[in-house]
């Protein structure tokens, strides 16, 4: 009998737990440890943030589902890792602290045979002075509560515009090393469309601010994509959309301080500037959770497990951009020091960025960190679960299932406005996610045809279809496993 502990009940933790439960017999124990009581389908937070979807539509409580499916659930947060156990406990364990109920604050050693760390990112608002969701007129859409607040803030500004007050709206990245430009891109297009729907577009100046050196970089070093019968750069596509929608842009900007209605930033050119606003949605930096790890003698071994995020089978040796290769990226998400620990989704430490690192004239690094979207988070979680299942069934380690971001495609359907007949979406697929400049030297490291873009109403329907399909899948309704990650 094996016990598998999954930390985190986000996209990757939930995918891993549900596949493990489906494929392993009941004698094996699956336990999810996560501080959130609800599962949330994060991509639809964009629509919560414009008031077009209630947050209850994108979430459901985890405890009843896990009870019904025979998955153990502890509403607790992991604090530290003991991969060798300790003097009193022979088995490896994680120390978890309950976050709710009678047990709140109580700590427990949760032992395991296999550990899946799917704790995603820490939303590191503290890295930018004054960037606090709901304060200084800045908001976030990274969680459903943040998105609810963002809509309240946006609605207030819309009502003021209806009374004749002009407003400035600023959307993008809130730190020089932020990632997730795609989410901010979706939000700015949705907000812009909402302003038109509320007949206040003329009253608003809408501005994009980002740490990308050029539009459409998305933390992916940009894309060369098939667009209709043409081949264009993602920069050209985004520029076309922004110009068409009268959205201004500030790029190569590392936001470093927020005051009430003012964003201060440094540019790649080395200038220190500021931008005023009445409403801002700025994506914070993502970081690891600051977990500690100890060996059985209680000595600190954090550097064996973590490098900010969790260390896996990547090549972390420092290299210049020119020497980066797809082979640096992990394939099995297994920790090299402890073979029973894995980290899929956002929880693993990437070997380096994907976009070329850039530094301002003052020496400040200003460039996007590597994004890891929902699809690769789900795929990597499933392959980790499959390797653990094989290892348990064959009674010997099996790492047959592999999935490097350098040999994996991803689809990103960016909503560009809500509405069954008036909505729009920018559908982008990319293969591979991490560009392979050796294999595809003439097409910016990606395979044309499999890397394509499209704009239109169909994109909105796709995004809506994915919303319903993935919530159905997450609820583990009949035949849920037929829906791919």
């Amino acid at each position: 009998m094996a016990k598998i502990v999954v930390l985190g009940a986000g996209i990757s933790g939930h995918v891993a737990a549900s596949h493990l439960r489906r494929k392993l017999s009941k004698e094996h124990e699956i336990v999810v440890v996560s501080p959130n009581s609800n599962y949330q389908w994060i991509p639809s937070n964009i629509w919560v943030g414009i008031g077009r979807m209630k947050s209850k539509k994108i979430l459901f409580p985890l405890a009843p589902l896990y009870k019904k499916k025979g998955i153990g659930f502890k509403q607790a947060k992991a604090i530290s890792f003991f991969p060798e156990g300790d003097k009193d406990e022979q088995k490896p364990y994680i120390l978890a602290e309950y976050v709710t109920g009678d047990n709140k604050g109580k700590q427990e050693k949760v032992t395991y045979d296999y550990l899946i760390n799917a704790t995603g990112p820490k939303l590191n608002f503290e890295a930018t002075e004054g960037l606090i969701p709901g304060q200084n007129k800045t908001y976030s859409v990274c969680t459903y509560t943040h998105a609810d607040h963002a809509w309240e803030g946006l609605n207030e500004v819309i009502q003021q515009m209806k009374q004749g007050k002009k407003a400035k709206i600023l959307i993008g990245t809130g730190h020089a090393k932020s990632t997730c430009q795609g989410a901010a891109f979706e939000y700015i297009l949705n907000v812009e469309q909402e302003l038109r729907k509320h007949n206040v577009r003329d009253m608003a100046e809408v501005t994009w601010i980002a740490n990308e050196h050029e539009l459409g970089d998305f933390g992916m070093d940009g894309l060369l994509l098939s667009y209709g019968s043409m081949t264009i750069k993602s920069k050209e596509m985004v520029e076309m959309i922004f110009e068409d929608r009268d959205i201004k842009w500030i790029i190569g900007a590392g936001v470093n301080k927020i005051e009430d209605g003012v964003a201060h930033y440094e540019t790649l050119g080395g200038d220190y500037k500021s931008e005023t606003y009445d409403f801002a949605m700025l994506i914070p930096a993502f970081s690891g959770h600051g977990f500690k790890a100890f060996n059985k003698n209680n000595e600190d071994i954090t550097e064996k497990l973590f490098k900010g995020f969790m260390i896996v089978d990547a090549d972390y040796s420092p290299k210049p951009y020119e020497a980066w290769s797809v082979q640096d990226w992990p394939e099995t998400y297994q920790n090299p020091s402890y073979s029973n620990i894995f980290a899929p989704g956002i929880a693993f430490a990437p070997p380096h960025a994907i976009s070329k690192p850039r530094v301002s004239k003052n020496g400040t690094p200003i460039s996007p960190s590597p994004p890891r979207t929902g699809m690769p988070s789900g795929i990597t979680a499933k392959l980790v679960a499959d390797n653990i299942i094989d290892s348990i069934k064959n009674s010997k380690e099996s790492l047959h299932h592999k999935g490097s971001l350098g040999n994996m495609g991803a689809a990103c359907i960016a909503s560009a406005g809500y509405g069954l007949t008036s909505g729009s979406g920018v559908s982008i697929t990319t293969y591979p996610i991490v560009p392979d400049y050796k294999k595809y030297p003439k097409t910016q490291g990606r395979k044309l045809g499999k890397t394509f873009g499209d704009i239109g109403l169909a994109g909105h329907w796709l995004k809506l279809a994915l919303h319903y399909a993935f919530i159905y899948k997450a609820k583990m309704r009949p035949f849920w496993w037929l829906i791919p990650e």
């Binding site: 110009e243 068409d244 394939e331 795929i379 490097s404 994996m408 392979d436 109403l457 791919p484």
Partner: protein, 45 residues
């Protein structure tokens, strides 16, 4: 505002009938990218 998307392009982007077929086309294309599978990148000797 610079009109970068022509009226005809916009018509095609927002016409529900054209977009219905686009929806099916895109769904299949995305499935091909996703179902194309994934794997490692390192050669094992």
């Amino acid at each position: 505002m610079t009109q970068r998307i022509s009226k005809y392009q916009r018509f095609k982007m927002m016409n529900p009938i054209i977009q219905f077929f686009k929806f099916i086309y895109l769904s299949i294309k995305i499935m091909i990218v996703v179902a194309g599978g994934h794997g490692g990148t390192r050669k094992v000797n």
